[in-house]
């Protein structure tokens, strides 16, 4: 073991996921922070344990086996700081996504204003919006009260009223919420977040203070009609999420203590890292992070002045899978399948998998199904998330995915995909990037851990991100064009640093690659044909620098939006062909 691991700067990051808990060690190696190793164990939030601490200790024990060092003492406590004998760590951060989805009621005034902001705020963590109460709600006040009593939400998020603006309408709504909270049994009362008119704080305390389990305030998400500021409220909501989990499971309190309060929801930590990366790497275009795992699909996009964070438990690949049919048809899922699979087999799979979120596809058929499901879930999550992207982002066509400089993708559905070709195809199908984008696979699910680490050590995330711990897949060129299959839409020539050249004629409907290894850069000359646009205008001829990756430079000539053939045999043949083009089996 390198001696620098114990130089007094090691950081242990714990991720308590829906299915698995991981303990990940970062340390200084040769003067730079590096991802050292990761130990994993099943999460123990569920019965019979109901204590996330068991899974955390098991994951740390497995990490200990890998690094050959002791991190837990005899009383199963974390050794901190690191000791001269090499045991222990200097700092700990924790991220958490395990647990049931948080039933949430959003409250506001006008649908397109405060209620929309309250919705966006609620969707920044692991919630399911079960009711919406606003001025346009046609129900009588007592019906609204009965609805709250029936639904028994875990959380109420209230927006509404510009700062210093009229307060009469929101007061009426608050009165109903307060009455409903009062009528609920004490242990069932929801946590309440008020993120509306700041001048109403005292009044809100009077109306809501005593009956609510816990009343929280954040700066107004809508200080004026034209302005939305979700960041402070998202931070408060992240804290509330952890508090709710503390009440639900044992062990969260201890993790909070171990980490000196550095415990965050996984999604929030992801958003924090994306905000940082967008500033560094986003440029004119945006920076996108997608994560599809058991508990949720998380989309976070960083643009010049704004970062969006959207968490969709309904598109998680675990216990919510059986409800996916509420958002899509089985036929739409199967359109992505490379194998001939019947609707009934797919339906049975969704229900069976929802019984056992931690299970994995062991057969080729189950793998094909799980890949199709992951594609559709991520596709839907992306469509939902796009609603909340700023209106002025760089695009080729506003109905398509905006231009992104980089996309980082992680989560169980992608980190398990090996080799990277099938993972990339999943991303190209579901996100449908346009123009020129570099793509990284977060195979070790490090991004949210780095987001959590920022609060302890702001150098570590940068150095680890640049260290090669993320798998650089390569640069993807995705022209926007619609012509007939087989038509040449783009000619490209790649000039390597050593003077060599490679060329490709990209036909509509095909995927091609040119090799360019990780760490290498090249100059790519492109001539768009037939109106093909990669973000610089139709039919433009240009030369751009490109960086390499395990799949080199990838040309996705399938057009946008991706239009799969309706003939199922032809479609499956093409999917197989595209898979082969990216090195899949």
């Amino acid at each position: 073991m390198p001696s620098s691991w114990v130089d007094g700067s090691s950081l242990l990051a714990i991720e308590v996921g829906a299915a698995n808990t991981r303990a990940v060690l970062f340390d200084v190696i040769e003067s730079e922070y590096r991802f050292v190793a990761s130990g994993s164990a099943p999460t123990t939030a569920e019965a019979p344990f109901k204590d996330v601490g068991e899974g955390v200790r098991n994951a740390i024990r497995n990490l200990q086996k890998l690094i050959g060092n002791t991190l837990l003492d005899e009383s199963r406590g974390l050794i901190t700081p690191s000791q001269p004998n090499g045991s222990g760590v200097d700092a700990l951060v924790v991220i958490l996504s395990a647990g049931p989805v948080i039933k949430t009621v959003i409250v506001g005034l006008v649908n397109d204003v405060s209620l929309e902001s309250a919705r966006r705020l609620a969707e920044s963590t692991y919630t399911r919006i079960v009711d919406t109460i606003g001025l346009n709600d046609l129900r009588k006040p007592d019906q609204q009260i009965d609805s709250l009593l029936h639904l028994r939400p875990d959380l109420v998020v209230i927006g509404g009223g510009t700062d210093g603006g009229a307060s009469r309408s929101i007061r009426k709504v608050l009165e109903r919420i307060g009455l409903a909270c009062f009528l609920l049994p004490e242990e069932k009362r929801p946590d309440v977040l008020f993120a509306g008119n700041e001048k109403m704080e005292d009044e809100v305390k009077n109306l809501m203070g005593s009956p609510a389990t816990s009343l929280h305030f954040s700066p107004n998400v809508r200080p004026s009609l034209e302005t939305e500021d979700l960041d402070p409220a998202e931070r408060e909501l992240a804290r509330m999420f952890i508090n709710i989990r503390k009440r639900q499971f044992k062990g969260v309190d201890a993790l909070d203590l171990w980490s000196n309060g550095h415990i965050l929801p996984t999604a929030y930590a992801t958003g924090r890292m994306v905000r940082f990366l967008a500033k560094v790497y986003g440029g004119e275009k945006g920076f996108l992070s997608v994560d599809i795992g058991s508990s949720a699909a998380i989309i976070s996009a960083g643009f010049n002045r704004k970062t969006t964070l959207s968490v969709y438990p309904q598109f998680g690949l675990g216990e919510n899978l059986s409800r996916m049919q509420n958002y899509t048809t089985l036929e739409d899922i199967l359109r992505w399948s490379s194998l001939d699979i019947s609707v009934s087999v797919l339906r049975d799979y969704l229900y069976q998998k929802s019984l056992y979120p931690a299970s994995i596809p062991a057969t080729k058929e189950d793998f094909a199904i799980s890949q199709a499901v992951s594609r559709q879930a991520l596709y839907l999550a992306m469509q939902f998330a796009r609603r909340d992207f700023p209106g002025n982002v760089a695009t080729i066509n506003p109905t398509l995915t905006p231009l992104f400089e980089s996309i980082v993708a992680g989560g169980g559905a992608l980190s398990g995909a090996s080799p990277p070709g099938p993972g990339l195809l999943l991303l190209l199908d579901s996100i449908q990037p346009v123009g020129v984008t570099t793509i990284m696979l977060d195979q070790n699910s490090l991004l949210p851990l780095l987001g959590a680490a920022v609060s302890q050590n702001n150098i570590l995330p940068v150095q680890v991100y640049k260290s090669g711990a993320f798998l650089g897949v390569g640069t993807v060129i995705s022209p926007v064009v619609a012509v007939s299959y087989g038509t040449v839409i783009l000619r490209a020539k790649l000039n390597y640093e050593n003077g060599a050249e490679a060329q490709v004629d990209l036909k509509y409907g095909s995927i091609e690659t040119l090799p360019l290894s990780s760490g290498e850069v090249g100059k790519l000359s492109i001539q768009g044909l037939r109106g093909a646009d990669i973000g610089f205008g139709p039919n433009r001829s240009l030369t751009i620098p490109v960086s390499g990756g395990v799949l080199g430079v990838v040309f996705d000539g399938r057009g946008r939006p991706l239009d799969l053939p309706s003939d199922s045999v032809r479609r499956r043949e093409l999917i197989q062909k595209w898979n082969w083009a990216l090195g899949g089996e």
């Binding site: 299915a19 164990a41 099943p42 939030a45 569920e46 019965a47 019979p48 344990f49 109901k50 098991n58 647990g99 049931p100 009588k140 006040p141 007592d142 009260i145 009965d146 009593l149 009165e175 109903r176 009455l179 009062f182 009528l183 049994p185 639900q248 216990e319 059986s322 009934s344 087999v345 339906r347 049975d348 969704l350 229900y351 069976q352 998998k353 019984l355 056992y356 931690a358 299970s359 994995i360 596809p361 062991a362 057969t363 080729k364 058929e365 189950d366 793998f367 398990g416 995909a417 090996s418 099938p422 089996e585």
Partner: protein, 351 residues
């Protein structure tokens, strides 16, 4: 690695909490013997509330309205009774539109609960009350066979067990259900149509124990007023041989089907309990097990979905699966003699 546990056990101690959804009165006493139909606790629950805006109805401000309200919190009010009255001969009055109870008054408003229903909690299983949880319910202990399932429709009932599944992969059809089965708990295979569920409701039966159910029937199954418990999964799966053997050798006994909705966080599971005479109290089954050779397991996903077998060996390191994924795995000898390699996360211990 720890193995998830599902109980299919011929004789064990069974300890279950039975709780009211909201606080109420516990009727059962410590050490009381209870039968499944005994009411052990009760409470009342208001289906609806009425918010009467006295301020608006009497056209006064809220301070004045509060002075005009004549009822107090806790008062039971009959329909038509005055709850607020103005001063003077021809003053306005606000009357209760329905019978109810005042639960809050102030700020110029009165909130009444109406349509109160009585909620009775039955023991559900026969046994002894070993703990009283004040205002909430009791803990009951019994001994017998325990067969846990994977899905339930939220109902509970007891009755005599009748076997209509000659083999574990039988299919129950409406034609098999006749009047002689009225009041029985029926052991069946899978159900593939709505007519069968409706025919069972028509008799009515006391409950269905199924090996599997089509996902398309879940909505209808949830609406049925008798308990439906699924032992193995969704689609057309045969019943695992361990559960089938245990159930089919206990026909004509009184059984309880608690088709509780599976909650992975609380640990609530749908289950069949068959009380058995005992000489001494058996052990409570283990809730935690570790994967090891010899362990009896069930496959949660393909290959061999739903089949049982025993672990022959744990593979070292990560095993590359036919899907291309790599995971810790075990070699499992299935009950049909075949051997398969299965990722550990796709296995659960049955015992």
């Amino acid at each position: 690695m720890q193995a998830p546990v599902i109980h299919v056990n011929g004789l064990t101690s069974i300890v279950r909490e039975r709780l009211l959804p909201v606080p109420g009165t516990v009727l059962a006493r410590l050490n009381q013997k209870v039968s499944p139909l005994d009411v052990i606790a009760q409470t009342s629950w208001a289906r609806e509330h009425l918010l009467l805006d006295v301020t608006r109805l009497m056209r006064v401000n809220s301070n004045v309205a509060d002075r005009l309200i004549t009822c107090n919190v806790g008062d039971r009010i009959a329909a038509g009774a005055v709850i607020a009255a103005g001063k003077g001969l021809f003053s306005r009055r606000v009357r209760a539109p329905r019978d109810g109870r005042v639960v809050a008054a102030g700020g110029g408003k009165v909130l009444m609960e109406v349509g109160v229903t009585k909620v009775e909690l039955r023991a559900g299983i026969p046994g002894m009350v070993v703990q009283v949880l004040p205002n909430r319910g009791v803990v009951i202990q019994t001994a017998g066979a325990l067969i846990q399932g994977v899905w339930g429709n939220g109902r509970i009932a007891s009755g005599t067990l009748v076997n209509l599944a000659e083999k574990p992969d039988g299919i129950l059809t409406a034609r098999r259900l006749d009047v002689s089965l009225r009041g029985s708990i029926i052991l069946a295979g899978s159900v593939n149509d709505v007519e069968t569920l409706q025919a069972a409701a028509g008799l009515p039966v006391r409950g269905l124990i199924l090996s599997s159910i089509l996902p398309s029937l879940i909505q209808k199954a949830t609406e049925m007023r008798y308990p439906i418990l699924v032992t193995d999964g969704f689609g057309s799966l045969p019943m695992n041989s361990v559960a089938y053997k245990l159930l089919s050798t206990n026909v004509r006994r009184d059984v309880t089907v608690n088709a509780e909705i599976h909650d992975r966080y609380s640990g609530a599971r749908p289950e069949v309990i068959i009380p058995l005479p005992i000489l001494e109290i058996p052990l409570i089954p283990r809730e935690v097990e570790t994967f090891a050779p010899g362990l009896q397991v069930r496959m949660r996903l393909a290959p061999a979905l739903g089949m049982t077998g025993s672990i022959v060996a744990l593979k070292s390191g990560l095993t590359r699966l036919p899907s291309g994924l790599q995971a810790p795995a075990a070699e499992v000898k299935l009950e049909n003699g075949e051997t398969v390699i299965v990722p550990l996360v796709n296995l659960e211990f049955m015992g």
